[in-house]
Amino acid sequence: MGLSINEVSVVYPAADRRPPVEALSRINLTIEDEEFVVALGASGCGKSTLLNLIAGFLAPTSGQLVLDGAAVSGPGADRAVVFQKHALLPWLSVLDNVAFGLQIQGISKATRYETANTFLGMLGLDGFQDSPVYKLSGGMQQRVGIARALTCDPRVLLMDEPLGALDALTREKAQELILKIWNDTHKSVFFITHSVEEALFMGTKLVVMSPRPGRITHMFDLPFSRQFLNGTPARTVKASPEFIGLREDVLKIIFADEEAAA
């Protein structure tokens, strides 16, 4: 089953003396069960538009998105989103933030706190239940966001540059944590990033996109996250010749797009 995107285009209509903009052109992509799909591309290539389509915040101009046999027609708890930032609710404690999705769904306080506590433990946030979220570091805030997304047991986890605002060291640790959680929870993931290294390390499938119009130009199957989960240290994976070779190939593709734009 999984999610399939069939011939999806998004066109923003013409507005004050600007011609219509084709943000996405005839996208075809499937996200199988337990697959970790990473989207990469120069800015303006429509990665975020694609994520917003899958999340249901945006409707396609043409084409169709199908999740487990049913057409996607709006946001729903089967597709949880982890945002880059600003998505937590500062007036709620860490525990209430994580339990927020369940609260929306009308789950009783005791049950939703129990579920929230499970995921807080999984993300190493035990003991921070009552902390105000605005007092946490960026890395911890992002873990709260991930825990919140997991509580409603989504089919697909959508991550919109979740690590983009973190410092390099925190970012690498967070990558490893996300891979472990993905491995434990068996979710499908659609992950957007600007970092080629992050894309190669995390994904099982890499989608490279190009701008004007936004489209998928290359797809790669990736072995690296499996290597890490099978016990190879992250730095060893990232320093292997295959990893570095592919990294340079992908960088060439993206730089070519950037130059074409300039």
Binding site: G76, F83, Q84, H86, A87, L88, P90, W91, I104, Q105
Partner: protein
């Protein structure tokens, strides 16, 4: 103060130098955010200086008591009015009546204005309908439409409370309306992605994130309310602080005028302190994320 040379390192900085800086500069803070530092002592100094000059001017007889009575004369007047009342009405009744007018109008303005402002922020229809009348009357001084209030609503309580209400209403509506925009699109999307309804998004995301702006608007609003009080009590009043000030001024009872002004300022300030306290308790996260 920037002209003053820094005190030599071998001696302790003088009194003036210490007062001129609110607090000794910490390392690394010289190029920090402008305007930081505790101002309590400087504020106390400013008030003390004001009282001293006032006392000096009256004590030396530079200005006639009719124009500026001495501070002690104000205190004596306050005590005598506290004991015997003003124009036959006990002092606290004047206070109570004015406070009731201002707070009655304030509560009414909040109860109607906050939901209306939120609705205007949420819906283009509501914004389109209510924006013109509010923007039309907002810049008009209450004194200008006071005669209309009297013609339409008479000289009773209605026109007084309505006048104060109108002056509080506009800032409260505008604050609630712009508060709607303070939630990030990510927060709203997060709620929708959990299956939230429009109502739940309003209740759990938009309303809480608008709270800081609503509270600020309420503080500004009640300020306008006190400003309008005297205008409202110009009309056929026999009680109230505004009436007390106006009627005393007609009989050149300057101490009463000044005393009334201080009482109004004190009540308004006390309420503002309360609002700041509520703000700290209710929205400690304000500006933090």
């Amino acid at each position: 103060m920037t002209q003053e040379p820094a005190p030599a390192p071998h001696r302790a900085p003088g009194m003036i130098a210490r007062l001129s800086r609110a607090r000794p500069t910490k390392p690394g803070e010289i190029y920090g955010v402008p305007g930081q530092g505790n101002t309590l002592w400087l504020s106390a100094l400013s008030i003390g200086l004001f009282l001293f000059i006032w006392w000096l001017v009256t004590f030396m007889g530079w200005v006639k008591p009719l124009f500026v009575p001495s501070p002690m004369a104000i205190v004596h007047k306050f005590l005598s009015i506290w004991d015997t009342g003003f124009t036959g009405t006990p002092f606290l009744e004047h206070v109570a009546i004015s406070t009731a007018r201002v707070f009655g109008a304030f509560i009414l303005a909040c109860v109607i204005g906050i939901p209306l402002g939120l609705a205007m922020g949420m819906s283009p229809v509501m914004r389109g309908l209510f924006d013109p009348p509010i923007e039309f009357y907002r810049p008009i001084p209450p004194l200008a439409y006071l005669p209309l209030m009297i013609i339409w609503f008479g000289i009773g309580e209605t026109s007084k409370v309505l006048l104060i209400f109108l002056s509080v209403f506009a800032p409260v509506v505008l604050g609630a309306r712009s508060g709607v925009k303070s939630s990030a699109i990510e927060q709203i999307h997060a709620a929708y992605s959990f299956g939230a309804s429009r109502w739940q998004v309003l209740r759990y995301v938009i309303l809480p994130s608008a709270m800081p702006e609503i509270l600020t608007a309420m503080r500004i609003g009640i300020g306008f309310g006190w400003t309008t009080l005297v205008a409202a009590e110009m009309v056929a009043s026999t009680k109230g602080l505004g009436y007390m000030v106006l009627s005393a001024s007609q009989f050149l009872q300057t101490p009463v005028v000044i005393m009334g002004i201080f009482v109004i300022a004190f009540i308004a300030f006390a309420f503002d302190l309360l609002m700041r306290f509520i703000e700290r308790r209710l929205v400690p996260w304000k500006g933090k994320m």
